[in-house]
Amino acid sequence: MDIKPIQDEKRAFMTGNEVIVWGALAAGADIMYGYPITPQNEIMHYWTRLVPKYKKDFLQTEDEISAGFTTVGGVLAGKRAFTATAGPGNVLMQEALSMAEMMRLPTVVIVTQRGGPSTGTVIYSQQEVNLTCFGGNGEGLRIVYSTSSHQELFNYTIKAFNTAWKYRFPTFVLSDGYQSKMREPVTIYDPEEKGITIEPTESLLGLPGTPGVERDPAHLRNTYNLEDELYNVVKSSVKEYNSIISKIVEYDTYAVEDAKVLIIAHGVVSRAAKAAISSLREKGIKAGYFRPITLRPFPDEALRSLVDNVDHIVVAESAYGQLENIVKNNLYGFNIPIIGYLRPGMGITPEEITDFVKAELSL
């Protein structure tokens, strides 16, 4: 049973969808549930091709509502379960993921963003930030990692399972169609060989002992009769979520020490933003960059600690202000102009960011 999918380090040149499958295998995932949608299809294809050897399972459901709920069911059955989706599929999954949020289930969802709204394009966007962070009729008690490269796709797919099972909040790897379809080098490895602890998968129901006598009952509910019952449950989840933020938030910075212009980007756009910094600095513009890796929870303290000497903030994203709004919320009370380079569903190059910054700031 315990055949290690990856032994030693292996360098490879593959697509992001393949990388995600290797990441899920390395993380010890038991089962994938899914319904086809571009650009995540090949995650299902590779998973089904690779995993019989490792005695893992797969279930193709009739739609994404079902894929979401079967993932919830898999977790309830004590399995390390995950699914992958995009665009309209992500919309349909929100009902199940709200349930996971309510019941504190460690579901893992890979989102490969495509253009929207609706069917939009099958290609690429960063328009599923709101939906992935705050979708559902709840408070967005989720953990969302936004990746920018194949190496991160591998690292954060592993991390997503560990975070989910450690803290019991629904966890997401927010990727995009570019990362899914592009090929670039990656090093895959066995996480335990790297000293990464694999958080155990545990049964949530049918535990040993008599409920109420030898142990507390596993009373997983998504329905409450009284408003104060619900209020107390949500309040306690919020409290727990807030208490783990400092352990979960991740971000990256570059050239921020003397920065007057701070460029903020997440995911694959952060690569273009980082490259733009160098060319802006060559032209004498003191630019720096901040990249939230966790979009939920957002690294608010880290961002606020950087902006004291910043004159302008530029948010670059392949959406119309979804990251920009998060940034504005987290900089409430600071009097710094924030401008957006907002390109819904469009890829962003370093040159475009450089030109935008120069033009907007008349530098």
Binding site: Y178, M182, P185, R271, I348
Partner: protein, 189 residues
């Protein structure tokens, strides 16, 4: 000065544009370069112009997409117009001689160092086989880009088509000849 090359390939679905891009980017990766290949996989899957973006660099590659390419290879009439956004002042446009008139119509005269008309379609039909047209183009790209060793490309070709070569050894010969023909056309241009 680091080495960094941006290539756009465009053609009709079935012309093998994505395969060429995949082989080149993999060959580059195997010879120690950083490389990134991304297909433009939108409606092209349904019969439009298929576009592939390849970046090869000795440093890590920034964004998956770019605007201005160093080399643009356009293999069909429709592709000639489709690649217009990627052509800058120094871009080399490579195209099949069968669409010379289209290039003239859309771009006028680009200048000797900026355009390369290659009789790949004719050559594939007369000298090798129409099915290895894309391998001739692969050779042209390798020759023009002057970044990769031919043997690394042959290895990448082997990895991709090795199972077919094993079934029919004449296929290997055909592909290698096509690669060489293309290479000769592109080299030094």
């Amino acid at each position: 000065m680091g080495q960094n090359i941006k290539i756009v390939l465009a053609g009709e679905g079935g012309q093998g544009v994505q395969s060429i891009a995949e082989i080149i980017s993999e060959a580059a990766y195997n010879s120690g370069f950083q490389s990134l290949y991304i297909p433009n996989f939108g409606v092209e899957q349904r019969g439009g112009v298929s576009v592939a973006f390849v970046q090869i660099s000795d440093q890590s590659v920034d964004a998956p997409k770019f605007i201005i390419a160093d080399i643009v290879i356009a293999l069909s009439r429709r592709a000639i117009e489709r690649v217009k956004p990627y052509i800058g002042e120094k871009t080399l446009l490579v195209y099949d001689s069968s669409v010379d008139d289209e290039v003239e119509k859309i771009y006028g005269k680009l200048g000797e160092n900026r355009q390369l008309s290659i009789p790949a379609l004719e050559m594939a039909q007369k000298e090798v086989h129409p099915r290895v047209f894309n391998i001739i183009i692969l050779g042209v790209v390798v020759g023009v880009a002057e970044l990769l060793e031919k043997k690394d490309v042959e290895q990448a070709l082997e990895r991709r088509l090795g199972h077919k070569f094993a079934q029919d050894s004449s296929l290997k010969n055909l592909n290698y000849r096509a690669l060489e023909l293309g290479y000769q056309l592109g080299q030094g241009k």
